[in-house]
């Protein structure tokens, strides 16, 4: 005979304001098998949990139903409480009467009625719950970091520091990411390279860190503690182990007309190249789209000058497979393409640039050696207009609905640096509003306005028109003065919105992690689990989760590392016991289930059965490996005989829920 306890939570007034919790407790007390039905202000509090524990002991409960918030919030809390009182944790069911009832309904009568039905459904289910025992699965003590920007580097360094092996997979020929392209950083104005390159070197020299540059993740299998990842090492046509990074090949290469990605295409590089002086690994890469040897078979200069013999025109993509216990995603961001913004003349006028292009124009290693000159005629610009929120906070299809977060601050930085270095330059910034919530951020912005006399104008730029004299007409509105402005500018700088890297979406599919509508990875909980994905063993680092500046990125990178280290420290992890199992007596051995299993958890064995007439019969039957099964239940529907069932979500449990709802 079942002895079920029902506990209805008020959640302060979150539930109690729209659901008559007393009536719910009263009604559920009359359900079959229910021996105790109580309500309490905060079931998840220590005293609330005590209430449950005491009832389990005193009433000798065989099942517990908590009517409270979503099981995604506190299912574990109550399972643990039950376990500590000696009840199998899987004999606890949650009725979600907050997110799916009190918060969405306003009428007390109907909300209470619904809460009773939801409670009744949970009671019906718990009647059929069975005690489940978790299995243990070993943890591979190695982490994978996908992306080698500042986020990935920081995460890898922290994990390595804790004593675990870690691999970085970076799609570009060098690690460093966007930070390597940045000139100075806000709000301290220290040089980005000076603080980043030591970290890059540290990563390359750390014995525990392996850097797979010019590589991509090709496939991910497995689950928390035991991922198998296939990494594609793209052919760079240079033997990484032989190349010394002397750079002679890049000097001698006759093909020098390749747009230089590192300088945002503002100057050219050779077909064989090292992205920048401090690249890690400092190894040359041949661009097969431009290399004359690869295209026409005529040249081979680099091969001749390379004393190390590292050039290999026949190199192929190779694949390596490695086991990992934890995976950290650090795929970062890119500025959006501005092709659709004709009003800013980005495609028509070379002197309309993005902020990242401006970084390169101002950088000592940039196309002009650090002198800010107009890309069109290499003249010194005297009037520069900055346009904020290009594609950010945008309602239409062209842009992004979110705030890109970093633009206000880097624009203040740019304005300040220009005014500092070239005091004869007038700088205008058009903004919707200036957002400076960060340590020393507002002070920084105020210095730009007050000390450096940057002209901040609240208003949007309507049209940018290149003129025949080489100047640029910027038509804008000053919202505070209520007037239309025309500025005769030499350069226009667009603060393009940032978006997640394009590789993130296919990666999320491989990792079975969720993304939001903007393709940022979704964290497991927006407040309480900001660096974990909802998929166990997958962690999030940096701008792949949302727009971030450098200090925030580094903080999140270290937090993700801490979470990964926490996982890697364990020798084994507890598996989800809600997995499939096959009733051998009913199984036909037809192989339907095996075909739909995404994990290959089902195998077949020939089993001997004793027949009623005492003869024996050998039949092929399915067998589920509970350590590999993740409990999706695809097999249960593929099985025509109903031999395959899922613990915790069994056919009979779900049908009992259906019955209770429809009653």
């Amino acid at each position: 005979m079942q002895r079920i306890g029902v506990f209805v939570c008020h959640c302060g007034t979150n539930i109690a304001a729209t659901v008559d919790v007393k009536a719910v407790a009263e009604a559920l007390g009359h359900e079959p098998g229910v021996v105790i039905s109580q309500e309490y202000q905060y079931m998840c509090s220590e005293s609330g949990q005590e209430l449950v524990k005491n009832a389990i002991k005193e009433q000798k409960l065989t099942g517990v139903v908590i009517c409270s918030c979503s099981p995604r919030m506190h299912e574990n809390t109550f399972r643990k409480a039950a376990a500590s009182a000696g009840l199998n944790p899987y004999l606890v069911e949650i009725a979600n009467i907050r997110e799916q009832c009190s918060w969405i309904h306003k009428d007390i009568a109907t909300a209470t009625e619904k809460a009773i039905i939801l409670g009744r459904t949970a009671v019906a289910k718990v009647h059929l719950n069975t005690p489940l025992t978790s299995m243990e699965s070993p943890v591979v003590k190695r982490a994978l970091v996908i992306g080698g920007g500042i986020a990935g580097i920081q995460t890898a360094l922290d994990i390595a520091e804790a004593g675990f092996d870690v691999d970085i997979v970076e799609k570009n020929p060098t690690i460093g990411g966007k930070m390597a392209q940045i000139d100075k950083t806000f709000p301290t104005l220290d040089c980005a390279a000076c603080i980043l390159t030591p970290k890059m070197v540290e990563a390359s020299q750390n014995e525990r860190i392996t850097i797979h540059s010019f590589s991509e993740v090709a496939d991910v299998k497995g689950f928390v503690g035991n991922f198998t990842v296939k990494i594609k090492k793209k052919a760079r046509f240079v033997d990484e182990t032989k190349c010394t990074g002397c750079g002679l090949c890049t000097e001698k290469c006759p093909m020098k007309k390749v747009p230089n990605e590192f300088n945002m295409g503002l100057d050219n590089r050779s077909a064989i190249y090292i992205p920048f002086a401090q690249a890690v690994p400092k190894v040359a890469t041949i661009d097969p789209n431009y290399c004359m040897m690869m295209k026409s078979g005529k040249c081979g200069v680099c091969s001749k000058v390379c004393s190390a013999g590292a050039i290999d025109y026949k190199q192929q993509d190779t694949f390596i497979e490695q086991q990992y216990g934890a995976i950290v995603v650090a795929t970062g961001f890119n500025p959006i393409k501005l092709d659709k913004y004709d009003e800013f003349a980005y495609n028509q006028c070379p002197d309309v640039v993005t902020s990242l292009e401006l970084e390169r124009l101002m950088n000592a290693a940039g196309p002009n050696g650090g002198t800010l000159l107009r890309p069109s005629d290499k003249s010194h610009p005297h009037t520069i207009v900055f346009v904020q929120c290009v594609g950010s906070r945008c309602d239409d299809e062209k842009g992004k609905p979110y705030c890109s977060k970093i633009c206000c601050m880097y624009t203040a930085k740019h304005a300040m640096l220009i005014r500092e270095k070239y005091p004869d330059t007038e700088v205008y910034v058009f903004y919707i509003d200036v957002r400076t919530p960060g340590k020393n951020f507002d002070e920084f912005y105020r210095r730009a306005v007050e000390q450096y006399n940057v002209h901040y104008i609240k208003g949007m730029v309507g049209k940018v028109t290149p003129k025949s004299d080489g100047k640029i007409d910027v038509q804008a509105s000053d919202l505070l003065a209520g007037e239309q402005l025309h500025i005769n500018a030499d350069m226009v700088v667009l603060a393009a919105a940032i978006e997640p890297d394009k590789t993130a979406r296919p990666l999320a599919t491989m990792l079975t992690t969720q993304m939001d509508t903007n393709d940022f990875f979704t964290e497991a909980h927006p407040k309480l689990r900001p660096v974990e994905s909802a998929t166990a063993g997958i962690f999030l680092s940096g701008a792949c989760q949302g727009p971030k500046d450098i200090p925030e990125t580094v903080a999140q990178a270290s937090a993700a590392a801490a979470k990964a280290i926490g996982l890697l420290c364990k020798n084994s992890i507890t598996c989800n016991p809600c997995v499939a199992h096959s009733d051998e007596l009913m199984c036909n051995g037809c192989s339907s289930c095996e075909k739909v299993c995404p994990y290959g958890a089902i195998t077949y064995v020939d089993k001997e059965f004793r027949m009623p007439d005492r003869s024996t019969k050998v039949r092929r039957v399915a067998s589920v490996n509970p350590a590999v099964c993740q409990g999706c239940g695809a097999c249960t529907v593929a099985c025509p005989s109903g031999a395959m069932d899922l613990s915790g979500f069994s056919n009979s449990q779900i049908m009992a829920e259906v019955d209770a709802i429809c009653k």
């Binding site: 979503s70 979600n96 918060w103 599919t509 939001d516 259906v658 709802i661 429809c662």
Partner: protein, 146 residues
């Protein structure tokens, strides 16, 4: 058809744990209202939904059944919702072939981020089922409420 203004349909929603159930939670967190007629059953994946469950719901008095899962390509279990899509397409087509009203069944993809879509979907589905009136073509008379 005669529409009974007081008719309150019973609607069973099967939601996958990873996307749609979280989407339903999000519509709660954002206080987005949808009718109380909708009662959610949590399943690990939309591919756990057996056609037997759907028929069972209609038998026991449901007027509409909706299945919600992760968007194709986003399944927590990689491929579960692809199987769901085929199975449920064929099942719904069969129910239609038997003359069961098309609007009593639905499959929607709702991500964990789509709280608003979840609420809007449930609102619309409830209205559609309400317009159809009580389930009479696939009911079990013994289960009819008096």
């Amino acid at each position: 058809m005669q529409v009974n203004e007081n008719f309150e349909p019973v609607i069973v929603a099967f939601c996958c744990n990873w996307c749609s159930y979280a989407g339903a939670d999000l519509s709660g967190t954002n206080r987005l209202n949808y009718p109380t007629n909708v009662k959610i059953i949590r399943v690990p994946c939309s591919c756990r939904v057996n056609p037997m469950f759907i028929l069972r719901a209609f038998q026991k008095g449901a007027d509409g059944v909706i299945i919600c899962g992760c968007h194709p390509g986003d399944c927590h279990y990689t491929s579960g919702n692809y199987f769901t899509r085929r199975r449920i397409t064929l099942l719904y087509s069969m129910l239609d072939f038997l003359g069961i009203e098309r609007d009593r069944t639905r499959l929607e993809w709702v991500s964990a981020a789509e709280g608003a879509k979840f609420a809007a979907t449930m609102q619309q589905f409830t209205e559609d089922v309400k317009a159809l009136g009580p389930n009479r073509r696939l009911e079990d008379l013994r289960c009819r409420k008096q």
